[in-house]
C-alpha cells in the first residue's frame, strides 16, 4: 500500500539573517518547513552553536568546565580563540563585569574588551549585556560603535531599553536580540516596536527567555513552536530566527551543580547532558542559535544537527 506522504502547504517562511562577514559569515533561518522535515520544504541553513565566554573569571564553575578553558579564563580574546579551535560557529561574549553588583565596568571598558575579542576571531560575535536594562542601554551602543561594520549580534534588548540598543545597532550595522519574558505576544510587540525604528526585520533575532530542562523548558518549547508555525503561516513579526541562551540556564540547575551521587550518577555526564538536551529539544521546537558553555556540548549538538540535516527517504 503506497502511503501518500502528508505535507503541509505553508504559505511563508522564516526570515534569514546573516551574521559576521567574510568566509566565516553565518546565515540562520530561511526555512520553509518545521525543523528538519526535509520532505516538506527547504532548510537552507542548519541551526548553529555558539560557545559563551565572559569578561571576568567565572565563579563557581565545576572543574570539568573550567579546566577545558585553562589558561584563558582571565583573557577574553584568548578564550574566544580557544572556542574557535573547539569548533564554535559563533562566540558569545557575556559582559558580566558591567553588572552594577559585579564590578560595574564602564561602557568604554566593555567596548574595549569586545573590540579585543572581535579582533581575535574570524567567526561572528554575539555580545550579551549584563541583563540590567539601564546598564545595557548604556553599554551596548558603545559596544556597537566599537564593533562598527563587523555585523555582530547584540543584546538583549527588552521592552524597557530597546531604543538606545537598536539605535546603536543601526548605526554600527549590527543585528539585535529582542528579548521578551516567555510570552509570544510580548515578543511580537517588541519586534514591531523595533522595526518601527527602521531596523530591517532580517536584523532581529528573538530571545524567548528559555527555561532549562526541568525548569520551564516546556513554555519555551511551545512558544518557539508557535513562532515557527506563525512564521510559516505568514506572520512577519514572528518570523525572525530564535536564539537559545542555554548555557546560563543549564549550568545553574541543581542537576548540573550537584556532585556525583548514587541517585543522579556522574556530575560531568549529567551536566553536559543537561546542556545538550536543553539545546536539542529547543532546536527541534524551532530554535536557530544555541549558546552553550562546554565544548563537548557543542560537539554533541553539532553532531546531532548534522544527522538531522540529512533528508528523509520518501
Amino acid at each position: 500500500m503506497a502511503v501518500t506522504i502528508a505535507k503541509e502547504r505553508w504559505s511563508s517562511k522564516c526570515l534569514e539573517v546573516a551574521l559576521g562577514s567574510g568566509p566565516k559569515q553565518i546565515k540562520v533561518g530561511g526555512e520553509t518547513t518545521l525543523p528538519f522535515l526535509h520532505f516538506e520544504g527547504e532548510t537552507p541553513n542548519a541551526p548553529v552553536v555558539a560557545l559563551e565566554i565572559f569578561d571576568a573569571q567565572p565563579q563557581e564553575w565545576p572543574d570539568f568546565l573550567s579546566s577545558v578553558y585553562e589558561g584563558v579564563l582571565g583573557d577574553p580574546a584568548a578564550w574566544a580563540k580557544k572556542c574557535v579551535e573547539y569548533g564554535a560557529d559563533l562566540v558569545a561574549l557575556h559582559l558580566s563585569r558591567t553588572h552594577p553588583d559585579q564590578g560595574d565596568a564602564s561602557p568604554e571598558d566593555a567596548a574595549a574588551v569586545a573590540a579585543d575579542v572581535a579582533a581575535a576571531i574570524d567567526v561572528p560575535l554575539i555580545v550579551l549585556g549584563c541583563g540590567v536594562d539601564e546598564k545595557d542601554a548604556a553599554v551596548l551602543p558603545e559596544v556597537a560603535n566599537a564593533l562598527a561594520g563587523k555585523n555582530c549580534l547584540l543584546g538583549c534588548a527588552s521592552q524597557e531599553n530597546y531604543k538606545s540598543i537598536v539605535a546603536g545597532c543601526i548605526a554600527g550595522g549590527h543585528a539585535v536580540i529582542a528579548s521578551s519574558p516567555l510570552d509570544i505576544n510580548l515578543a511580537k510587540q517588541l519586534n514591531i516596536l523595533i522595526t518601527e525604528m527602521n531596523l530591517e526585520t532580517d536584523r532581529i533575532i528573538i530571545d524567548p527567555s528559555i527555561g532549562g530542562l526541568g525548569y520551564g523548558l516546556e513554555y519555551a518549547y511551545s512558544i518557539i513552536e508557535r513562532m515557527r508555525t506563525g512564521a510559516l503561516m505568514g506572520d512577519k513579526m514572528l518570523a525572525m530566527p530564535v536564539v537559545l541562551l542555554v548555557g546560563q540556564e543549564a549550568w545553574k540547575t541543581k542537576e548540573a551543580k550537584t556532585p556525583d551521587t548514587p541517585d543522579w550518577g556522574e556530575q560531568r555526564k549529567r551536566a553536559i547532558l543537561w546542556e545538550v538536551a536543553t539545546a536539542t529539544s529547543l532546536i527541534h521546537a524551532g530554535g536557530h542559535i544555541a549558546v552553550v558553555r562546554h565544548p563537548e556540548s557543542l560537539k554533541h549538538i553539532k553532531e546531532h544537527i548534522a544527522k538531522m540535516m540529512k533528508p528523509q527517504a520518501y
Partner: protein, 444 residues
C-alpha cells in the same frame, strides 16, 4: 476527520433543554467537539446520531495497554500534533533493553537496576516503564528462561523482542499473565505472531521496513483480528525516525486507519549522549514507547525530566497554593518575599532563598498560576492584589517588621504598593538567583 461543533450541532435535538448541563445544544456541541463533554450527557440523542458521532469521535490513535496491575502502561489516544493545540495525553513509555544471553545473576542485577530507575521531582516519583527482553542469543530455551526470570523480578511491563514465533511462544508460556508487548510481527512471521497475540490477548508490535510496508502489514494483522497494535516503521536513523514519527501522527490525525496506533522507536546508539538526545527527540515527537540500552541514572534523569516537561498540560498552568510559605526556620525578623503562584516562580524563589542560607517567608499571590512578568502584563499582579494578599494572608502576623521584597522585574509597582499597603517596599533582584547577593546588601 473529527466533526466540528457545528456539524455535531446539526445532529443534536436542538431543543436547548439544558439537561446535559449546558445552556444550549450548541454549547454542548462545542464541548463535544473540544473533547470536554461526552455524548451520554444528552439523554435525547438518537441511535443514528450516536453512530455518526461515535465513529467520528473514536480516538484517532487507539489506546494500547501493556502489562498488568500497577505496572500497566497506557499509550496512544493522542489527538494533536502540537502540545499547545491541546495537550499530549499519555507520556512516552521508556523501555530499557535487557539481552537474554546474560547469566542469571547479571540478568537479575540488570533488572534490579531498571526497577530502581525512579527519580523524585518536587515530591513526585518518575520512573521508567518497561523492561525489553531481547532474544539476542537466538536461542528459544534461553529466551524463555530469561523471560521467566525477568517476569519474576519486576512489576514493570514487559516487551518480548524476538522475530522467532517459536521463541515467542515459549517465552509467553512463562509470562503471558503479565500481558507483555510482543515485538514484532514482520512480513515473514505475522500470521504466527498475530495468532499468539490473539491467544494470549496481548498487544503486538508490527514492524515494517518503511511506511508502505508497515501499512500493508497492519492491514493483514488487523484482518487476523488483533486490535492492540504498536507501530514500528523500521527507521533507526535520527532524521528518518523524525520523518516517520511525524508521518504516523499526521496520518493518524487525518484518520488513515492503518496508522491509528501508538508507535515504538529505538535509541540504541553506543554513544551515551547521542542516545539520550535521540530518545529525547522521540519523546517530544510522538513516540509511544522508546527503547534504550542503558541503566545509567545520569542518562535517564534528563529523559524522565524532558518527558515530564513535554507532557505537562499546557492549558493547566501549574500553580501552587497562594499563601505564605516558610523557608527554613523563619522568625519574626526574617525577610518576606512576594512572587506569583506560578509553580516555577515559586520554586525558583524558594530554591534561591534556600541557597542564601537566610530563612525567609514567601508570599505567593494568586495570579492564576502565571509568571511574574506575564501576570503583571495581564493585570493580575497589581499593587492592589499584592496589598490585599499582604493583609489577607496573615503575613503581618508572621513578621514583626513591615518590609516586603518584590521581584525586580516589577519595580514600577513599588510606589503604589507602598501607598496602598503601608509596608515598606524593597525592590529585589530581577532573577531570583540574585537573592543571596541582594540580601547581603540590603538586609541586615
Amino acid at each position: 476527520m473529527a466533526l466540528t461543533g457545528l456539524e455535531i450541532y446539526k445532529l443534536l435535538p436542538r431543543t436547548n433543554c439544558k439537561e446535559c448541563g449546558q445552556p444550549t445544544c450548541l454549547a454542548f456541541a462545542m464541548q463535544l467537539a473540544a473533547g470536554k463533554a461526552s455524548l451520554e450527557k444528552c439523554p435525547y440523542v438518537t441511535e443514528e446520531t450516536k453512530e455518526a458521532l461515535g465513529a467520528a469521535s473514536a480516538p484517532p490513535i487507539a489506546l494500547v495497554k501493556v502489562g498488568v496491575g500497577e505496572g500497566v502502561l497506557e499509550v496512544g489516544n493522542e489527538t494533536v500534533l502540537f502540545r499547545h493545540d491541546k495537550r499530549f495525553e499519555h507520556p512516552t513509555g521508556i523501555a530499557i533493553a535487557v539481552p537474554d544471553n546474560l547469566g542469571p545473576e547479571e540478568l537479575g542485577a540488570r533488572v534490579e537496576a531498571i526497577n530502581g530507575l525512579n527519580f523524585d521531582r518536587v515530591g513526585q516519583m518518575h520512573s521508567v516503564d518497561l523492561v525489553a527482553l531481547e532474544n539476542v542469543s537466538g536461542d528459544v530455551a534461553a529466551f524463555a528462561k530469561a523471560a521467566k526470570l525477568v517476569g519474576e523480578k519486576t512489576s514493570l511491563a514487559l516487551i518480548l523482542i524476538s522475530e522467532d514465533p517459536k521463541a515467542m511462544e515459549e517465552a509467553l508460556k512463562e509470562t503471558a499473565g503479565a500481558k507483555p508487548l510482543l515485538y514484532a510481527a514482520t512480513s515473514e512471521n505475522y500470521e504466527k505472531m498475530a495468532a499468539l497475540a490473539k491467544q494470549h490477548d496481548t498487544a503486538l508490535a508490527v514492524k515494517g521496513q518503511n511506511l508502505d510496508t508497515l501499512a500493508d502489514l497492519v492491514a493483514k494483522v488487523t484482518a487476523a483480528g488483533v486490535k492492540q497494535l504498536v507501530l514500528d516503521t523500521g527507521a533507526r536513523e535520527a532524521n528518518q525516525v523524525l520523518g516517520d514519527q511525524t508521518q504516523l501522527r499526521r496520518q493518524a490525525l487525518k484518520r488513515f486507519r492503518p496508522f491509528g496506533y501508538p508507535s515504538i522507536t529505538f535509541a540504541k546508539s553506543p554513544d551515551p549522549v547521542a542516545r539520550v538526545v535521540e530518545a529525547g527527540v522521540h519523546i517530544a515527537k510522538y513516540a509511544g514507547i522508546v527503547v534504550l540500552d542503558t541503566v545509567d541514572r545520569a542518562e535517564i534523569l534528563p529523559l524522565v525530566t524532558l518527558r515530564l516537561n513535554i507532557y505537562t498540560d499546557p492549558q493547566k498552568p501549574i500553580a501552587v497554593e497562594p499563601k505564605v510559605y516558610e523557608i527554613g526556620a523563619a522568625t519574626g525578623n526574617s525577610p518576606l518575599y512576594v512572587t506569583t503562584n506560578f509553580s516555577l516562580s515559586y520554586f525558583c524563589v524558594a530554591g534561591d532563598v534556600e541557597a542564601s542560607r537566610v530563612p525567609g517567608y514567601i508570599l505567593t499571590v494568586d495570579t492564576d498560576g502565571t509568571s511574574v512578568l506575564t501576570a503583571w502584563a495581564a493585570g493580575k499582579f497589581t499593587p492592589e492584589k499584592i496589598a490585599a494578599a499582604l493583609s489577607e494572608s496573615g503575613a503581618a502576623d508572621k513578621v514583626a517588621h513591615r518590609k516586603v521584597i518584590i521581584p525586580g522585574g516589577v519595580a514600577v509597582l513599588s510606589g503604589k504598593l507602598q501607598e496602598l499597603s503601608g509596608w515598606e517596599v524593597l525592590v529585589g533582584p530581577r532573577e531570583s538567583a540574585g537573592i543571596p547577593a541582594f540580601l547581603k546588601q540590603f538586609w541586615s
